[in-house]
């Protein structure tokens, strides 16, 4: 109970941990035969490690870290294409800070910046649009990435650019969606998952119904969770109770922020600006049908792929082999823990990441590293 003192309400945390233990016992979960719960969202991965929740709960519960870290699943080829755009004369390339150190096959955006490209870290796509207003003689490109939490922000920004007829602003769209990769993981015979902790802020946008298939078609429980430690513990308990009672439902632990039907303004903006691509590549998971978004032809003037001739599909974000000795795909799909990768903490650290999972605090490898990953026999395959 090393970290419990840090909880806002240590008493409540202890009570939840005790109840989780009771239900885990009732199910018969053991260290050898654990209940495997995937937290989909990288923010949850970060919080689980920060508070050592994986160590605090009953040993029969194993957290499997999901694909919900957008920079971790961004294919190397897309980073290459971002660098290619950024290095064109006259371009100001803008990005969230998280994406700057993601390795491409040749270099990261940070390296391209060091070599002279005008690449700027911004907080919001609105900053990029403002840059375009201030520099009408330059082409300002925003590196749009992230799940449904960030997708509305670029959709609304593109709508704003269209209203103001700002012609020197485009988005290089790499937005991806949460439900499709979950389906891929559920269809994978090697992935034995018993339930899910669902993403809170993604669900604030899309609501809870996009997860209905998980319960209905696959018979697995999912509980949408906030990211305070008590939220996570409560959600794990709710998943376990469903398993104990042989229920499979979509439950919403984070109802104070997540409306059942999501945010209508965000959903309308996304539907107006974006449409699904036939497929999109995920680092470690491969091509997944309808999992990525592209800008609709009606907004082609704000689409960097159209403007710079870097169309996905025209020059396919082909599967680029991961560097020798890296095990990112196996970590990504929960087959091994980060410590099972020979590069972990030796060649691959947050300062010199070989794989994207080491880049962002939402990535499983970076979280393991930051909060003292255990090197234990069970860490290997």
């Amino acid at each position: 109970m090393r970290y419990v003192e840090e909880f806002r309400d240590p008493g409540a945390a202890k009570a939840l941990i005790a109840r989780i233990g009771e239900v885990a016992e009732a199910i018969g979960a053991t260290r050898e035969q654990p209940v495997r719960i995937m937290e989909i969202c990288g923010g949850h991965t970060h919080a689980i490690f920060r508070y050592g929740l994986d160590r605090l709960v009953h040993e029969g519960i194993e957290f499997i870290h999901g694909p919900g870290c957008p920079v971790c699943v961004l294919p190397m080829a897309r980073v290459d294409e971002a660098v290619e755009i950024a290095e064109r004369p006259g371009v100001i390339f803008t990005s969230f800070g998280d994406a700057m150190r993601v390795p491409g096959t040749k270099k990261s955006l940070l390296q391209a910046k060091a070599e002279g490209a005008d690449i700027r870290t911004v907080y919001s796509p609105l900053d990029a649009l403002e840059l375009a207003r201030r520099h009408p003689d330059r082409e300002v490109v925003f590196f749009g990435l992230g799940f449904e939490t960030t997708t509305p922000s670029t959709a609304l920004t593109i709508q704003q650019a269209a209203r103001e007829e700002i012609g020197n602003f485009t988005v290089f769209c790499n937005h991806i969606t949460v439900p499709q990769p979950i389906k891929v993981l559920l269809d994978d015979p090697h992935m034995l998952l018993d339930g899910f902790v669902g993403p809170g802020h993604v669900s604030m946008v899309i609501g809870t119904h996009p997860y209905d298939f998980i319960a209905r078609d696959y018979g697995k429980p999912i509980v949408v969770a906030g990211f305070e430690p008590l939220d996570l513990l409560q959600s794990v308990l709710m998943v376990l109770e469903q398993i104990r009672d042989r229920r499979a439902e979509v439950e919403n632990q984070y109802g104070r922020v997540v409306p059942e039907h999501g945010n209508p303004v965000s959903l309308a903006a996304m539907a107006d600006v974006y449409e699904p691509r036939p497929s999109f590549a995920w680092r470690g998971l491969g091509e997944i049908d309808a999992s990525g978004l592209r800008i609709r032809p009606g907004y082609a003037g704000w689409d960097a792929e159209a403007k710079f001739g870097i169309g996905y599909g025209a020059r396919r974000a082909r599967e680029v082999a991961e560097p020798e000795g890296t095990r990112c795909a196996a970590v990504m799909t929960g087959r091994i823990k980060p410590t099972g990768c020979g590069m972990f903490g030796t060649q691959c650290t947050p300062e010199t990441p070989l794989g994207a999972l080491m880049v962002s605090s939402e990535g499983a490898c970076a979280a393991y590293w930051q909060y003292g990953g255990r090197r234990s026999p069970e860490a290997a395959e």
Binding site: H46, R134, L156, M204, P229, V257, S266, S361
Partner: protein, 93 residues
């Protein structure tokens, strides 16, 4: 980057563009309020919102804002977000 940060809407700066000034842990930052505005934007002044890459995405109450901020501080994400906001301001100069 997937976690929002609570901020308090202090002023509507441009109702046409759905722009408002928010106070995020003492830092002033212009945000878009399209996703949380229902009717008169002026009604939002004084309200807390979960702000995500410059967009207010959900209205929350003050207790929720405080609890969320504390969780973000523990994760180091509050500081990181404030640095990103500062970096965004620098990129414009």
């Amino acid at each position: 980057m997937c976690l929002g940060i609570p901020g308090r809407i202090v002023e509507i700066t441009d109702a046409g563009r759905m722009a408002a000034m928010a106070d995020v842990s003492g830092v002033k930052r212009e945000v878009n309020i399209a996703c949380v505005a229902e009717g008169d934007p002026a009604a939002l002044v004084g309200r807390w919102a979960l702000i995500h890459v410059g967009f207010a995405m959900a209205l929350i109450d003050e207790a929720e804002a405080a609890a969320t901020l504390e969780a973000l501080r523990h994760l180091g994400e509050a500081q990181e977000t404030l640095e990103q906001i500062a970096e965004g301001a620098r990129a414009l100069s």
